[in-house]
Symmetry: C2
Subunit: 266 residues, 2 copies
Amino acid sequence: MEKISKIVFIGAGNVATNLAIALHNKGVSILQVVSRTIESARELALKVNADFCDNFSEISQDADLYIISVNDDAIFELSEKLNLKRKNIVHTSGSLDISVLCNISDSYGVFYPLQTFSKEELISFTAIPICIEANNLFLHNQLIELAKKISENVRIINSEERKVLHISAVFACNYSSYMYLISSDILKDKGLSFDLLKPLIQRTAEKIKSIEPAQAITGPAKRNDIETIKKHLAYLDNLPELKRVYKVLSDSIIVYFKKQKNNVKL
Amino acid sequence: MEKISKIVFIGAGNVATNLAIALHNKGVSILQVVSRTIESARELALKVNADFCDNFSEISQDADLYIISVNDDAIFELSEKLNLKRKNIVHTSGSLDISVLCNISDSYGVFYPLQTFSKEELISFTAIPICIEANNLFLHNQLIELAKKISENVRIINSEERKVLHISAVFACNYSSYMYLISSDILKDKGLSFDLLKPLIQRTAEKIKSIEPAQAITGPAKRNDIETIKKHLAYLDNLPELKRVYKVLSDSIIVYFKKQKNNVKL
């Protein structure tokens, strides 16, 4: 089996930056970075010793794989501009079906690293699940080989499963981040430092490594401690949007554990 | 100033267990553990080389400090049973005012470690904020000295501030745990492993150490990506309780960042 050794990146955002650098560090050659903004193309290209351009007509034809890592909306626009028939192409999106690439090439797949990335803080891929899907066995095997170069957690995940993963990741990542934001705002409102909560936040996430999520939950709603909940809601009267979130989540937790007690599916 | 060197614990739950062991390990003598259930009193007492009992009339009169670490409701019952006039007493609760102890003694305070604890997994106190309050300067200074033995993060926090901390901790800890639980249930529903999300959860919490909460949030609601949100809601049709939470939080995030853009207080 021929291995993938030369890659073109289309997109230069948070995912592309982390992924391109991780592959480059494992000896994979990044030929070119293509982006709508020449500055971000240049920025990433310099880090991985690649060419760069902002014009899709100048895209290199020499790569073994084209990794499209752009916003979901932009992929649909790309499919009109890109001519990569017979090339191997993948996207890196959690929510898009594999089939969105079928107009760009005959050999396509998905290379989805399940993690939150930022350009500013590069992180190790070793433990990150990389979810692989392909429309043909040849590419499928090549993508697995490639993913294994950077991660010990390579998974075969189809588009339907990936969608479910993405929805659950919205809760686990985006919504838990929003909880941090709310807690920070409540403290700020009284001149208290968010630093006070940081050890608690770290520990709460760490707990989940060894304790089942249902067992890990503590607090007034889990205990059905109506008096404390009432006091908290009264305090939040001057922060109505946060009060609404508090109310919905405390209600939801109470209902959840009542149903669990009665063995009812949520 | 006389230092606190002999302590009686009233209560033997998660907080009492972690705190008693941490103090014991720093050479503080735990004289006695008092609990309504003799088994839990014995269990903790054995770990810290203390006496134990389940009868409040047998409480030792020789301690420098009595740490009451029981459920909030139980403290009110205790104030009728306990006779510790002229003794130093503290509670460890985030939500109760310092004044709930005023019927038990003349010298009282709060020793509140801001963390989530479990008996099964003992954790280091070094980074944990310990929030101190006292009704007299002598006890105030003694409590600070004691807290510094186990933590490098000792804070003077009054009852009103502590209440605010506790409400914000409900979001940062209880509600983020609930987000983990929901994500786990969504995966389970399709036979997918929660392990897939663990690296994401760890990273999301870690991000908050160096990135402002408002900057750390990503995802469809933050991007105001209505199409993806609609798809996710449609998927959650068969999990109505989780759908309701998804809807409220995505709406709330969208409103939050719109207001932030327009510089309106939430």
